[in-house]
């Protein structure tokens, strides 16, 4: 039984999806999603323990061995992603019952859960697979399901947002496919470990360079790297709240994981960052993302759009860490992936609660909400300080790590951009505080008691982010182990 854990991890949500769609019952669908998320979290914990004790786990799907068949690989590098994704999914499951009931028509709720199951399966699949083409398949499963989820938003604009994301996302996915195809043409294999081995001697090959560029640009669309970010603000802001919690926390992060996987273990860091100028391009785009994303966030008039633009800026930090291609840089980026996922999930969840209670997330409608909902306001402020990077929040730990990594490489311009970005973050978090606390409350709102499940989910995430700030040993040891695992083969 325990030998089947790697596949069980993906199979639980994947089987949950059709069941959700067939059952047509809101409660049953919710329960299925919760069980699937919990089950995959359990699998992730067990797998993490086994990796810690017994090293890398390899699993051949259907008994077909590696280069020919599809292989699942669990190592130090992807266990944190598995833990993060399945944990956030569990929290979203708890959060979603009341939130979805309020935002989505009753007959569509089981379909939402079916799609959520598919997204979860796709994300976990990307994380576990050791096969390049299989990674593309899971990427598509995740993307298609998320297009559908975004389209379920309350307003008609959600449909348009989903459509735009569909077009751009599909083009991005095609790029990934072209890249993988080129790599296959050059090497004749699709298994990642095998690819890495055969690519070793091909560093002058032009087709290989094209493969790298196609895969990276394709993934950059999914990561919402500036200027390929444009689908993100509408998608996150128009999707149902529970969906934006899950997508903002994990979808871009899984794409980042896939990028790291391809960059360091498939194509090798010497090729990507040594021979090709990907590192410098990445740093440039990261600086643009940090500055422009934060600056735009400062001017937003809707809380969800503000948070979405802040996500674009935060992805800039992560890309900056990756583009250093050092152990410290990758570890800092990885740490920021974890910390930002928790922080941003908390903020989007709080926004969901505001939707439920005030009916809107426009800043004008939120005037004075802090005085009526002090606990929600406190959660927003604590998580917001995490975005700014104020100690003792999780954001400080990862920004500190990133700053030291940048200093180590003497990347002063990037560091300066990062500091300016943090100052701008202070401005946009300050705006939320200004609106929520210092403005006179508007009188039109009808208050009802907040659902315990949603409050519990929000505060779990907020406290987790503070805990990661106070005692960063758990996430930073995971990130260090992941970075070490990545750079051990072929890194600088």
């Amino acid at each position: 039984m325990t030998g089947q854990l790697p596949v069980l991890q993906v199979l639980l949500p994947l089987l949950g999806a059709p069941l959700c769609a067939l059952l047509r019952s809101r409660v049953a669908a919710w329960l299925l999603f919760l069980l699937a998320a919990l089950g995959s979290f359990g699998c992730a914990v067990l797998l993490a323990q086994r990796v810690a004790t017994a090293g890398t786990q390899r699993y051949s799907v259907g008994g077909w061995t590696a280069p020919v068949g599809i292989e699942f690989v669990i190592d130090d590098f992807n266990t944190p992603v598995l833990l993060l994704v399945s944990l956030i999914a569990t929290v979203v499951a708890v959060f979603s019952r009341r939130s979805l009931a309020a935002e989505v028509a009753a007959k569509r709720v089981p379909l939402v859960y079916a799609c959520l199951c598919l997204v979860l399966a796709g994300m976990l699949g990307i994380a576990v697979t050791g096969d390049a083409f299989n990674a593309f398949v899971f990427l598509e499963i995740m993307s298609l399901a998320s297009y559908a989820l975004i389209a379920m938003g309350r307003r008609r604009r959600a449909l348009l947002a989903a459509f735009r994301y569909l077009v751009v996302g599909s083009v991005g996915a095609v790029f990934v496919l072209i890249g993988i195809g080129l790599a296959y043409a050059v090497t004749g294999t699709l298994n990642m470990a095998d690819l890495a081995q055969r690519l070793g001697g091909l560093h002058g090959n032009r087709a290989l360079y094209a493969a790298v560029v196609f895969v990276f640009i394709g993934l950059a669309v999914k990561m919402a790297v500036f200027p390929l970010h444009a689908w993100l603000p509408d998608a996150y802001a128009q999707a149902p709240s529970a969906v934006s919690v899950l997508l903002s926390a994990t979808a871009t992060k899984v794409a980042i994981y896939a990028l790291l996987r391809f960059a360091f273990t498939v194509f090798s860091a010497t090729l990507v960052f040594g021979v090709m100028p990907i590192g410098r391009i990445g740093a440039l785009l990261a600086v643009l993302a940090m500055l422009i994303g934060s600056a735009v966030a400062c001017f937003q008039t809707d809380l969800k759009y503000l948070l979405a633009w802040s996500s674009i800026a935060q992805i800039g930090y992560i890309v900056a860490g990756i583009s250093l291609a050092t152990t410290a840089g990758v570890s800092a980026a990885y740490l920021h992936v974890i910390n930002h996922a928790v922080t941003k999930a908390a903020l989007f969840a709080a926004a969901g609660l505001l939707v439920l209670r005030l009916g809107s997330t426009r800043l004008d409608d939120l005037a004075g909400f802090g005085r009526r909902m002090p606990w929600t306001f406190a959660a927003v402020v604590v998580a917001g300080l995490g975005l700014v990077g104020v100690p003792p929040t999780a954001g400080f730990v990862s920004k500190w790590a990133l700053a030291t990594a940048l200093l180590e490489r003497g990347q002063w311009p990037v560091l300066a951009a990062m500091l300016v970005g943090s100052l701008l973050a202070l401005v946009y978090v300050g705006r939320i505080v200004e609106v929520g606390w210092f403005r006179e409350p508007s009188l039109v709102t009808v208050m009802n008691r907040p659902p315990v499940s949603m409050v519990a989910a929000i505060w779990f995430l907020v406290l987790l982010s503070v805990y990661f700030g106070l005692d960063p040993t758990l996430p930073s040891s995971l990130a260090d182990a992941a970075a070490a695992a990545l750079l051990s083969d072929g890194g600088e």
Binding site: R164, V168, A230, I278, V296, F299
Partner: protein, 563 residues
């Protein structure tokens, strides 16, 4: 790794319980905490306690050796005296803050690394400002703000220095720092600010006298002595300090002589005493460091005693202005006697504590053959006797009777003063008690005939000079006046310059304001237009724009990669 508990933590956590208790129970807690701290301190073995790691930096919050132990003991003894002195208060915040403040000093003295030192350094400033604010007047509020600004500035300088040292790879260990790198220099500036180096000293006489009766006693003991400890630990034998210290012993004398507020006189005499300690640190070696440590210990007790007696006078008469006091010996005989014991100690009369400690520094200077410094210190010794030894008791308790008929202070305050006086006399009579605590073994015969006679000559001549001056009317009269010190630079010149500049700017703005403002607004709008929600960047991009960008980026990166 051994687990060790810190006396600082014991006192600090205990102090937080103060507001919960009332009456006798609170009093018992106040008095027992420093005693418990002392017990913990002396039970701790020498060496480094448990250490732990934060962000890859090793912290050692407790490090006990002879130097830190003598300072920590001094702090806890002073805390005990202050706690007893504060027993009569109804204000639990002040009582708690006295102990928290004392605990930060103890924590600083036991800090084995610079980061821990920094934390306690800042906490000392933050906790003690409440003792100034407790005055409750607008004046004390403003003084507190100025005090806080200086303390925080000092902390920031220290943090900057620490960061520079860590990035230079010199680590966090709090041992000899020296002036080799920029980090060490910055940390010295931070310490110098708290230690009232000349020109940096202005905050001390500016703010201490604005504190409450109890607050001034606590303030006199901890902040500056913690700074002396940091100097003794980090910069022993630094030549510059000898001269800085010598200047510090001399220049406050002139201010102290003409100052009317007797607590401000004490503040100036404190700078003078700090000067002696800093000279000791600057000379370094066994005599210098021993002398600095011993003098710091003795100073905490006798300066505390003097501040206590002036506090008692302030409490009963409502003033400590020399021009409004006099003849109090009739109504406050006990306080008068105790004050004179403190005065005798600070003047280094043989058989009093100041003699035992200051002699070590003088001996160190003499053995180093520094004639000029020695003469400066001699002048300062005469001066300190003049303003602290004679002036304080004379103008407060004798001189011209101004008709105050008041009661003695509460019993608890008298007990605190009596305990302090007892310590002064004990250390003075049996100096080996203090010498035994010092970091280096002391092989020094204190009561030699020439030494004692020399000191008595000095004191007698100084008192003769005072008598002559007062008799002939040449002594600067005690006037209600404000004396100008370096503080005016930031209290008067800078604000007036600032206001002048602000006025000028307002006028300037009136001329150019309207056009510039309109243009600036336009410029700002133009610069941020694209960032606003309906701007070019932030507006929802159309699908074909997204695809264009995608193709553009792909093409660009491909080009760069393949070229």
């Amino acid at each position: 790794m051994r687990m060790t508990i810190s006396p600082a933590l014991v006192v600090m956590l205990g102090a937080l319980g103060t507001p919960l208790l009332r009456g006798r129970a609170r009093g018992a807690l106040l008095v027992s905490l420093p005693i418990a701290g002392l017990a913990v301190l002396w039970v701790l073995p020498e060496g480094v306690g448990s250490s732990f790691e934060v962000f890859g930096l090793v912290l050692t919050p407790v490090r006990v050796d002879a130097l830190s132990r003598v300072f920590a003991t001094g702090f806890l003894v002073a805390a005990l005296l202050t706690a007893v002195y504060a027993l009569h208060l109804q204000d639990s915040l002040q009582q708690a803050m006295v102990l928290v403040y004392a605990a930060t000093a103890v924590g600083g003295a036991l800090a084995g690394d610079l980061l821990t030192l920094f934390v306690f350094w800042e906490l000392a400033g933050l906790s003690s400002v409440f003792l100034i604010w407790a005055g409750g007047t607008e004046r004390s509020y403003r003084a507190g703000m100025r005090y806080l600004a200086v303390q925080v500035l000092s902390g920031l300088l220290m943090l900057a220095g620490i960061v520079l040292r860590v990035t230079a790879g010199e680590g966090l260990e709090f041992g000899y720092l020296g002036l080799d790198g920029p980090g060490g220099t910055l940390i010295l500036c931070a310490i110098g600010l708290k230690c009232a180096f000349p020109v940096l000293h202005a905050w001390l006489p500016d703010t201490y006298p604005e504190s409450t009766v109890v607050g001034a006693v606590a303030l006199s003991a901890f902040t500056t002595k913690l700074a002396v400890y940091a100097l003794a630990r980090g910069y022993p034998g630094t030549e510059m300090l000898v001269w800085i210290g010598a200047i510090m012993t001399c220049f406050p004398i002139f201010y102290a002589v003409i100052e009317n507020d007797l607590r401000r006189v004490l503040a100036y005499s404190m700078i003078n005493q700090l000067g002696f300690m800093i000279v000791g640190v600057g000379i370094g070696g066994a005599f210098g460091i021993n002398g600095a440590a011993a003098h710091a210990f003795a100073d905490m007790v006798f300066k505390g005693l003097l501040f206590m007696s002036m506090g008692a006078v302030l409490m009963r008469t409502g003033t400590v202005k020399g021009s409004e006091l006099g003849g109090l010996y009739k109504s406050m005989p006990q306080t008068a006697v105790l004050c004179m014991i403190g005065a005798a100690s600070i003047s280094a009369f043989p058989l009093f504590s100041g003699f035992a400690s200051k002699s070590l520094i003088m001996e160190g200077v003499a053995q180093d053959h520094r004639m000029v410094i020695w003469l400066m210190l001699l002048f300062a010794s005469a001066g300190v006797f003049h303003h602290a030894g004679i002036k304080i008791p004379y103008f407060a308790f004798f001189a011209h009777d101004r008709g105050h008929r008041v009661a003695e202070p509460p019993v608890s305050m008298r007990v605190a003063m009596a305990l302090a006086a007892l310590l002064c006399v004990t250390i003075g009579a049996v100096p080996s008690l203090l010498y035994g605590l010092l970091p280096y073994p002391v092989e020094y015969e204190l009561f030699t005939t020439p030494h004692v006679i020399n000191q008595l000559q000095l004191l007698l001549l100084a008192s003769m000079a005072f008598t002559l001056l007062v008799r002939t009317g040449l002594y600067p009269p005690e006037l209600r006046s404000v004396n100008v010190d370096f503080e005016v630079v930031y209290r008067r010149f800078l604000p007036s310059a600032w206001h002048a500049a602000a006025r000028g700017l307002t006028r300037l703005r009136a001329c150019v304001r309207t056009p510039v403002r309109r243009d600036a607004e336009k410029l700002w709008m133009a610069a941020t237009r694209s960032l606003r929600p309906d701007g070019r960047v932030a507006v929802t991009w159309s699908t074909h724009l997204m695809i264009w960008w995608l193709v553009l980026v792909l093409g660009g990166v491909l080009l760069l990669a393949l070229l």
